[in-house]
Amino acid sequence: MEQTVGQRGLAREIIFNEMIGPEGAPRGHYVTLSEWLEQQPARDLKRKRAEAESIFRRLGITFAVYGSNDTLERLIPFDLIPRIISAAEWRLLERGIEQRVRALNAFLLDIYNRQEIIRAGRIPADIVLRNDAFLPEMIGHRPPLGVFSHIVGTDIVRTGPQDFFVLEDNLRTPSGVSYMLENREAMLHLFPELFARHCVAPVQHYPELLRQTLEAVSPVAPEETTIAVLTPGIHNSAYFEHSFLADQMGVELVEGQDLFVSGGALYMRTTRGPMRVHVVYRRIDDEFLDPLTFRPDSILGVPGLMDLYRAGAVTIVNAPGTGIADDKAIYSWVPEIVEFYTGQKPILQNVPTWRCAEPEALSYVLEHLSELVVKEVHGSGGYGMLVGPTSSKKQIEQFRRILKARPSNYIAQPTLALSACPAFTKSGVAPRHVDLRPFSLVSDRVRIVAGGLTRVALKKGSLVVNSSQGGGTKDTWVLTDE
């Protein structure tokens, strides 16, 4: 999971508390939870937390840590207190996400075909065509229903009552949906009485919607469609999720070695002979999909898959080449993209982003390095970045030289004061920063399951919600109008 903006809260900014209003009273949709929390003895919550942990461990809901052996399958900390989103807030988010997801899919279809947005001069050609994530192999391709990114995880943070910012559009292979589902299962098990007092929108039908989405983009009729989930294998950090989704949809979980191409079709090897596969929900990266087209040394994919795909004999979900739309360089252009394809103002904001390639932006960034987060355009996982507010003068000066040498390689953003939700911590119930990843499913329509994965920074004051750095998850409740 990607790193969020910033490393530590900026004390001088006011943090939006999602549960408690400015007058000190709980906000409307949090009243019931707040009262309930006050009645809970800490020891009961501690017991529930232990129970939750044993549920997760028993089910094996773990993530593997790269470069380590099997002993390091870790549990992601689970926070017992649900995050609540009101019906009105959700409507705003839902409209905003749908708008963005549609626009980004239109963008993908356009840049691999007519490239109208470039011809209209609304976005520089270089930023798309010279981007590593742009796949020339996809030029001229029109996937079923024109959809490139079928499963989207939109990372959203909040800084105020109406202030939602999109941090990242995960259009390639977003993960985390299994935690959304398992967190809900655990909560239903632990706190049935709390559900009885709220009207919480269900999330459990996600696998069914996913299946419908995959069938809708199949090259054959839905009822004749065979789906397979393609995983790199048990050593992948998200292996649990891959097997979970295949199991929940009732389809096979395959590895590259289980598949082969023959006579213009894709097959999986079964004990009863070869069986045709029509839709591949792949959880491996583009470059590993097909050694004949991409990395010849890769054994994770299937030789000949890309040719089949371009011929329309099989659908790959999400389509290869979607990475161009969630690249950090493109991110700052998403507001233009939304306007260009929808003719509307974006409902959700981008985090203000300075593109250091532009001289004016660069001089602003150089002057304000100590307040900004500077990121490498193609970097990920927190490498090659500067977090101004927590860096020493020396580090900032070092970075200034690097930045001046290759300004086009960097973007800069302010650190945001992320909203906080109550979490059950060692010192009792206390506010902690959160973000949110709702999941959208795109086929003939956009379906967004009401909820998502809320990640929470369990350390006091920390803005880092990454699971690898002590972040946890919690159940996300979207209330429905009764």
Binding site: G60, T71, A246, E252, Q257, D258, T270, T271, G273
Partner: protein, 317 residues
């Protein structure tokens, strides 16, 4: 079912069965080494234990000499030995993780708990005093897994592949134990070599947990040809070759139901089953016990190869 999944279920069960057998062999070797009178024979006993386990070569590639301590460590914990109890349980769990959704919760938890507990066992702590407890533990855990499997899993293709794995492995193990000791089991052995301590025969039976059931079946002292018959031809002895093939025969029936023509593994299982059903101990001794066992082990190995071909276990595009 995906071929790879079938293969994983097959090998998961095989490794569990192997872990159990290795621990039984180890116990037999350990018991012998405790009998004072055998003296210098200890080395030979561990040699034959390593042979029975089919790991003598790999042992000698790591160690120069055979000692009880080294043999025990190699059989139980050495990760360079793919058949050590630890390697077997790790391989079984890896296979189980691959097919996680095809296992019941009981099966997964049993295997996972075993593996987690095993991580905490330090090979250095395996003193003579602790060894028996540890060997018991391995047997209990493998028995629990088998119980979880038999008690909860759907009787579908996956179940049949797991049974094929378990019983091919068991037949192989029993055949090896008998083969390594075949000279003890020759009917004229006593005449030739004088009185062999019945302890030796008991050890063979102990290695397959059969020392008491022998008496229930035969109501007499251990006699070498009886022991051989018991382990090779008796259908009521659950670790005998005959029993294993009775079970494999039933299993393959379930697996190929409705499929025609019969595949190569099925044909081989049927003919081997027929051979065991129709054999007499006298004939086996006449034509050579060792030859019979060598032939059996070879056939039994070929069943695995045939299954791999019939069900595309290996990549064959």
């Amino acid at each position: 079912m995906l071929s790879r999944v079938a293969s994983s279920l097959f090998w998961m069960s095989r490794y569990i069965e192997r872990a159990e057998n290795i621990s039984r062999l180890c116990e037999a070797g350990f018991r012998i080494s405790l009998t004072p009178k055998v003296g210098g024979g200890h080395k030979e006993e561990w040699l034959s234990t390593l042979k029975s386990a089919g790991v003598l070569e790999s042992y000698l590639s790591v160690h120069d000499e055979i000692t009880g301590e080294k043999a025990i460590n190699f059989l139980l914990f050495d990760e360079r030995n793919a058949s050590s109890v630890k390697s077997c349980l790790t391989s079984a769990r890896n296979n189980a993780r691959i097919v996680r959704t095809k296992l019941t919760r009981d099966m997964w938890e049993s295997l996972n708990d075993t593996w987690i507990a095993l991580q905490a066992v330090s090979p250095q702590s395996m003193t003579n005093a602790r060894l028996p407890d540890f060997l018991d533990w391995v047997r209990h855990r493998t028995a629990q897994f088998r119980g979880a499997l038999l008690g909860t899993v759907l009787r579908d293709e996956g179940y049949y592949f797991s049974q094929l794995g378990a019983f091919i492995e068991r037949a192989d193990n029993t055949a090896r134990i008998v083969d390594v000791k075949y000279y003890l089991l020759l009917p004229d052995h006593q005449a030739v070599g004088g009185a062999i301590d019945t302890y030796q025969w008991e050890t063979i039976l102990r290695a397959v947990s059969a020392q008491r059931s022998y008496r229930h079946v035969f109501h007499e002292d251990y006699r070498p040809w009886r022991v051989a018959e018991f382990l090779i031809l008796r259908p009521e002895m659950p670790r005998s070759l005959r029993f294993c093939y009775d079970w494999l025969n039933v299993t393959i029936d379930g697996l190929i139901e409705g499929q025609h023509p019969e595949l190569s593994a099925a044909r081989l299982i049927r003919s081997t089953h027929q051979l065991l059903k129709s054999s007499q101990m006298d004939d086996i001794f006449q034509s050579g016990l060792h030859e019979f066992l060598t032939d059996f082990i070879d056939r039994n190995n070929r069943v695995t190869g045939n299954l791999a071909v019939d069900y595309c276990f290996e990549q064959a595009a």
